[in-house]
């Protein structure tokens, strides 16, 4: 493709973008190749940044968002292939690098639109701007065919990778691609398909990387190794905020294959977490991983603890006093809670406690950094590649266009790699070593230095009238904010902790939601579904407690509370509207499927929960029993209304997966402190649930919908834990008010 052609296409894409008013940046050509062309086979043409067609008709589609297991590569390729009328078996999908060019003054301009794995936002963004990418590629192919055949383009139609003329003549996309790529681009954005013409969207598609994964050929970042790179491992200070005391590296240095020993200085606490190393450390750079690990074991290090780090127990002990004080932020205040509480016929009160947990994604943090005077290459598990670019820029002084950030498939992200501390470490080491570096975290490293899911306590009070209607509701949340230490002022810290419009807000006349800051030196960070992942536990268990206290059916109480379908305003991710009717509907579906009304005398207990997460309406129903001292989960149902579903097979995987992850975490996972440092060092003392502990099957009910898609990845998580706790209560009459559930259940039984 010639430079002038490239330039004209860029102009077209800008015109096209402004005409649609859609994400303009998503349609601009990147200034640099997105992926080395040799990776793409015999490419004859590029129709736009995302689509190339090979002579044999193979359509090569770029997927822009980082894949962490949410199925985004498949979903994005299906959206583009749908609008192109591609023949799916002949589609190949490759991961794109971060699309960036220079905007001047060192500022980046993003050229590919949405490129992050955060809050299930990939599919909604793809729906908004990748359909037109596919449609524009199709339009070029049709116009090329019209020229070739000497007919009016409007007389042609497309099907399964072919353009078909009214007289029956057929041209394959492979034959047309060269001509199509040379055509002057259209001035207006082509129309996208009407949903009733969809052939791929709404149909099941297996993960595009499946074959590579089952054959062991899928290269995660940790599987890649530039020939000249040194492997780095870091002995990090295990005490949050601690410092390096004494170091004797002589034995490590003497080991054959050890190249360098470098110090990562104590990070500046005023620099936001996620953009700098989490801890000071001593790095060993060696020829291979095993040598680096052995050498690290030979380091003689004395660490000095930093300021005191508060355990969950220590924080919990301060709460009675803390709740006596004014809240840090009054998040919502409808009506007059105090007055309504006084008038109430009766009240229910309970306090819930949520443990600190770690990310424990299976691929531990790692990062390859290759630096030259005028170039940087980063290969790492990344959920937030733009943030990674910023880190590289800050540390190297390079311009955005000089930095290539590749996005290999991550072995889970779970929010851990929204932070780029691993990138900062690797770049610092590569810079100091003057050699490419492949940094690896071990499992124990990952437990010892994480940005953990915050500890939280929810204190809830409900006032009820004589008819057992909830007339007053006060929820006080005390937590160690995820935003602490991230450059945000204290008055904004509540934003990651409390959601002002989460039900039952808007459904109870006198409603008060307060947030209380707890201070902790333990780094805190994003963890699946953010605070939705735990706030649902408090609310949904409390609703059951109200039902029990007032002898109401927990399903009926929830349906009464949700009432007639209402469109409530919803600020924040997932808004602008929450439809209570959709929430009630998924709840009914889940309850029906689990057999809620069926009488049972087998000692089994059923539990329900619902939650609105990032625009998705999800309800869980769970059936459990105690077999001796073993908690057995017999059945699980997840009913979800996620708008239009791009790939039901992928959405089911996401919903089941998040549900099981939610159950696994709720069962037994917690981070504790011992002697000022994290006690857990491996999976032996942080036992992710195995197959035997989880339900053998999870039934998924997807509500058909023509609403815009919400994505599916995180929505299955929040309701799982409360459904479990509610089912456990019915089965055992033991009310567990803390996460994780098992230790507390065993204590109370």
């Amino acid at each position: 493709m010639s430079a002038s052609h490239d330039a004209s296409r860029r102009r077209f894409l800008k015109v096209l973008g402004s005409a649609t008013g859609a994400l303009i940046v998503g349609l601009q050509l990147p200034a640099r190749a997105d992926t080395p062309d040799e990776l793409l086979g015999d490419v004859v043409s590029r129709l736009n940044p995302y689509v190339r067609i090979e002579p044999d008709g193979t359509i090569v589609i770029g997927a822009r968002d980082p894949e962490t297991g949410q199925g985004i590569r498949t979903a994005e390729a299906r959206i583009i292939a749908e609008e192109m009328d591609a023949d799916w078996p002949r589609v190949r999908v490759f991961p794109m690098a971060l699309g960036v060019e220079d905007a001047g003054n060192g500022e980046p301009r993003w050229t590919l639109g949405h490129q992050e794995a955060r809050g299930s936002t990939g599919v909604p963004a793809a729906w908004n701007d990748l359909r037109v990418v596919g449609a524009s590629a199709r339009e070029l192919l049709v116009r090329a065919a019209a020229q070739r055949l000497g007919v009016d383009a409007r007389s042609l139609h497309t099907e399964l990778g072919k353009v078909i003329a009214p007289d029956g003549r057929i041209l394959g996309y492979g034959e047309l691609a060269g001509d199509a790529s040379a055509l002057p681009p259209p001035n207006l954005a082509p129309a996208v398909k009407s949903p009733d013409a969809f052939r791929l969207i709404g149909q099941d598609a297996g993960d595009v990387d499946a074959r590579d994964i089952v054959t062991g050929r899928q290269l995660h970042a940790i599987d890649q190794m530039p020939g000249s790179a040194l492997v780095a491992v870091i002995a990090r200070c295990p005490y949050p905020g601690g410092t390096l005391g004494k170091l004797d590296a002589s034995a490590a240095r003497a080991l054959k294959g050890v190249e360098q020993i470098l110090i990562i200085p104590k990070p500046d606490a005023s620099v936001p977490i996620g953009t700098r190393p989490l801890a000071t450390g001593v790095a060993v750079l060696a020829d291979d991983t095993w040598t680096a690990l052995r050498a690290r074991d030979l380091l003689q290090i004395e660490w000095k603890p930093g300021a005191l780090v508060q355990s969950d127990d220590a924080l919990a002990a301060t709460l009675d006093a803390r709740f006596e004080q004014a809240p840090t932020t009054q998040v919502r205040n409808d009506g007059d809670y105090d007055h309504a509480r006084k008038l109430a016929h009766r009240a229910v009160q309970a306090r819930y406690r949520i443990a600190t947990v770690a990310h424990a994604e299976l691929e531990p943090p790692n990062c390859i950094a290759e630096l030259d005077a005028d170039r940087a290459l980063i290969v790492a598990p990344l959920q937030n590649p733009r943030g990674a670019l910023d880190v590289v820029q800050t540390l190297t002084g390079l311009r955005p266009s000089q930095i290539e950030i590749r996005l290999p498939r991550s072995g889970g992200g779970m929010g851990r790699t929204l932070d780029n501390d691993h990138v900062a470490e690797a770049v610092m080491l590569a810079k100091a070593a003057k050699k490419p570096v492949k940094l690896i975290w071990t499992r124990s490293d990952a437990f010892a230095n994480d940005a953990y899911r915050p500890f939280a306590v929810h204190d809830l009070v409900a006032g009820l009238d004589r008819k057992n209607r909830i007339t007053a509701w006060r929820q006080r949340i005390a937590s160690t904010s995820r935003l602490a230490g991230r450059g945000e002022p204290r008055e904004r810290w509540w934003l990651s902790e409390a959601h002002p419009d989460d039900p039952p807000a808007g459904l109870i006349e006198n409603f008060q939601l307060d947030w209380f800051a707890l201070d902790s030196n333990l780094p805190r960070g994003n963890w699946r579904a953010g605070s939705h992942g735990v706030n649902a536990f408090a609310v949904q268990v409390f609703l059951d407690e109200i039902a029990v206290a007032t002898k109401q059916d927990p399903l009926q109480l929830r349906l009464n509370l949700l009432g007639e379908p209402l469109q409530l305003p919803y600020r924040g991710h997932g808004g602008p509207v929450l439809d209570t009717g959709r929430l009630a509907w998924v709840l009914k579906l889940a309850a029906d499927a689990i057999g809620w009304t069926r009488k049972r005398n087998d000692g089994h207990g059923l539990g329900l929960a619902f939650h609105f997460t990032y625009g998705g309406y999800v309800a869980h129903a769970l059936e459990v029993s105690m077999e001796g001292d073993k908690l057995v989960m017999h059945r699980c149902v997840v009913a979800a209304d996620l708008g239009r579903v791009i790939n039901p097979l992928g959405a089911r995987a996401s919903l089941v997966g998040a549900t099981l992850d939610g159950l696994s975490t709720a069962l037994g996972l917690r981070i504790t402190l011992k002697d000022g440092r994290v006690a857990q060092q491996g999976f032996k003392d942080y036992p992710l649930a195995t197959m035997a502990q989880l339900p053998r099957d999870v039934q998924v009910i997807l509500v058909p919908s023509n609403e815009a898609p919400t994505g599916a990845y995180e929505m299955g998580l929040p309701g799982a834990a409360p459904a479990l706790a509610n089912a456990v209560f019915i089965a055992t009459t033991v009310r567990v008010r803390s996460l994780p559930i098992l230790p507390e259940l065993m204590r109370l039984l």
Binding site: G69, I213, V214, T215, M225, G682, F683, R696
Partner: protein, 173 residues
């Protein structure tokens, strides 16, 4: 007997390097490095067989599962010095030489048992070990697989094992 003229050929014969002989996916290799190096790092760093994943260092997660003489083992706790003369199969060795997938691999694709994919090579090896011991495993047998998946792929892994077992049974008939 006439003596041959003594000339210096300019070549110093290379002594046969001593090492640890191990057969991996049917090919013979000799490890001449540190005998205490775990198989995990030999596979990943030396042979670049990166289907054997690093997930932990205490044999808990199962991401590095391999078959040692046909039986399930964790590569992270197998030092090379214990492997002299042994046979190792990794996920790369499950398909046959022609590249035809193992029935388990095909079942994994058919059931879309993927999610992030990081644990799946180890899961496949654990399943291959199970099917070698029990050709028609029950759900309880499958529950014996202790490999960890953080993404929650277990139900699809279970379905894939049942599918593969049924297919292999049919093929034997």
């Amino acid at each position: 007997m006439p003596r041959l003229p003594q000339t210096d050929p300019g070549i110093t014969p290379e002594p046969i390097r001593t090492g640890i002989d191990v057969a991996i996916n049917g090919e013979n290799f000799r490890h001449t490095g540190d005998p205490s190096m775990p198989l995990l790092w030999y596979l990943r760093d030396v042979l670049r067989l990166t289907g054997c994943k690093y997930g932990c260092e205490d044999a808990t997660c199962g991401a590095c599962s391999v078959l040692l003489d046909g039986k399930l083992a964790r590569a992270c706790e197998l030092p090379m010095e214990k492997l002299q003369g042994h046979r190792i199969t990794t996920v790369e060795g499950l398909a046959n030489a022609k590249g035809d997938l193992h029935p388990l691999q095909q079942a994994w694709i058919d059931e879309d048992a993927i999610l992030c994919g990081y644990c799946q090579p180890g899961m496949l090896i654990a399943a291959a070990d199970l099917l070698a011991r029990k050709s028609d495993p029950s759900d309880d047998d499958i529950d014996g697989i202790k490999n960890l998946c953080r993404c929650g792929s277990y139900p699809r892994v279970r379905a894939a094992i049942h599918n593969a077992a049924a297919g292999m049974k049919g093929a034997r008939k």
